[in-house]
């Protein structure tokens, strides 16, 4: 079973992930309408490109925006989670080997200790996010099952992956769970809020361009003081 899951199933879920997210990105861009949004996307390249990049870049930096600085706890939780969530799936040694053997794409790999620390940090970040969701009155007003689903989908691969390492006696069981939950994450990402993996960039770029092209770019230039 593991052969099938880690072979053809892995390739299939990777394909769904990549094609699905690409489709969402394409659908996003194709759905933009300069008249409806009132943003002249094709004009003012001198400031629109920097506007889009600043809008993405500043939010990728911890403390890079007033929004992050205003909410240090939320910021900490997000970044703890996302450092690992971006780096581990792509650069963990086992993942790079699997990726190379199945797709031929060769990526550098993280030192195992660093990967362990990142993974534990991500789980800590997830824990903080869960606590926020449970106890913040704001989040309690907003919570839906979809938000919990996303947290669960994210938690499982991290947790089972870490257990593979720390519970060697049940290695095969944890590994099987890890492969299943990892692939579930890949397959569901394009259809859930996990699609923000690409749509974050689209949406941020759009708002950055809106401010750079229309709302003040003329006076302010491309870089909005996020």
């Amino acid at each position: 079973m593991l052969q099938t899951l880690s072979g053809p199933c892995f390739v299939a879920s990777l394909l769904i992930f990549v094609v699905g997210l690409l489709a969402r990105a394409v659908w996003y861009v194709r759905g933009l309408d300069w008249r409806l949004e009132r943003v002249a996307y094709a004009y003012h390249r001198d400031r629109s490109v920097s506007g889009a990049l600043a809008s993405i870049g500043k939010w990728l930096l911890p403390g890079g925006t007033a929004g992050w600085r205003a909410q240090p706890v939320a910021m900490l939780a997000f970044f703890l989670l996302h450092f690992g969530a971006v780096l581990i799936p792509l650069f963990l040694l086992g993942h790079t080997v699997l990726l190379e053997e199945t797709t031929g794409i060769s990526l550098p790999s993280l030192p195992p200790n660093v990967a362990d620390i990142l993974c534990i940090a991500s789980l800590a970040g997830l824990g903080l996010l869960v606590l926020r969701r449970l106890f913040s009155p704001v989040l309690r007003q907003l919570n839906t099952w979809k938000d919990w689903l996303v947290l669960l989908l994210t938690f499982m691969p991290f947790f089972t992956g870490l257990m593979c390492k720390f519970d060697a006696n049940a290695y095969d069981t944890w590994l099987l769970l890890h492969v299943i939950t990892g692939e579930l994450f890949l397959v569901l990402a394009p259809f859930t809020k996990l699609a923000h993996i690409v749509l974050f960039f689209m949406s941020r770029a759009q708002l950055g361009m809106d401010y750079a092209i229309k709302r003040g770019g003329r006076a302010r230039g491309g870089v909005f003081p996020w």
């Binding site: 300069w34 008249r35 009132r38 004009y43 997000f78 007003q141 974050f200 708002l207």
Partner: protein
Amino acid sequence: MSQILCSPAPLTTKEAIHELLADKGGAEYYKQMRQLKVNQDALAYDLQSTCKSRTRTWLNICAHCGMCADSCFFYKTNNNDPKQIPSYKIQSTLGELLKRNGRVDAEFMMHCMDVAWGQCTCCNRCGMYCPHGIDTGVMFSYLRGVLFKQGFTPWEMKIGSGMHRVYGAQMDVTEEDWVDTCEWMADENSDEWPGLEIPVEKVGADVMYICNAREPKHYPEDLAQAAILFHVTGTNWTVPRVGWENTSLTMFAGDFEGCAMNIKRIYEAVERLKPKVVVGTECGHAHRATVVEGPYWAGRESGDPPVPFMHYVEWVAHVLRTGKLKINPEKKLKMPCTLQDACNYVRNDGLGRYTREIMSYIAEDFREMDPNNEHNFCCGGGGGMNGIGRYRKERNIGLKNKLDQIRATGAEMVVTPCHNCWDAIRDMMEVYEEHNIKWSFLKPLLINMMEIPPNIEHVES
């Protein structure tokens, strides 16, 4: 009353406006609204054809992280009421409307109306605090458009939209009234300022000046002050006969067809008079409607107006910088002063640096509010809220936020180059009985402290 007051059709005649005005406070209008039939097919079609990937993605990927909550002054002033979280407000209205694909009743539409106009001023502040770049203010503005098309618009906004369609101005000021007021103000002040003119429809002037209908209608001295400042700075200026009004209650009302009519009137005046630049009065939403959003309603692909348009603060900063207007240092504001950043031209058009430049010329003790500039809070009355009786209570609660901000600076004067902010600040001082803080537009302040150049004749009155 037996006539139909509330319907999806916009007001297009004087009679219709007067009939609706006669319904005091819109009592009958709102009663009829409750019985209004939602055209679900048309609604579904509108949502399908105008709600595209940007908005749907915004609603879709909202992580419900709650980071927008604290950015909203309604949330803050309502004791952190979870129902005032921007994300919740939009998800429970537009989000729900999309989920049900327009299969909703009048009660739900009225709820949407009460949120879209009564709990959001479209200040766009929350959009700056969302990691995903979700601009809820933009979505509420869109929702207002959807609601307007179905007839679910607050009474005053419906009237405002009708005014623009019938009079080409937000108030019932006819072309004749306008031209008369210009002549009257020029006459009235020419004893003190010999040679003062308000040139109407002069082709080829450097500056075409456009303003808010409240100015000729309720405080025409504002128009006179604009004239004096143009006169003193030796500006070759004019006002158009038609297309002189740059506000857009149609924008607040969600009447985007009406918005297009407004802007085309103004751009036509530009075409007729061929000014080098257009200067708009001290009004935030007028600037937004004419300069920021306007070009799009006029179908201009570049998103730019046909000639450069300046907000009044840009023009003032320019004449101060170039020395055309000189300030008497003795007469600079001595008391502690602060500055109200209007969302519509500061956050949404980047003009905060010009207002600050002006403050450096006119105030000795200038104190910033916290937060300020792009991160400012709405005055509390934006997006049409000042004018809507139905949400007066909600507005007054929200005003407290700005009052606290002003008080924290210790300022005794709030420089307020925006009509809406000016109203909100006047009202908050009254509602919260604050009698020690003054507020003012720029024009009267400048006239009091300017140096009159030797070539300009001035007779002390």
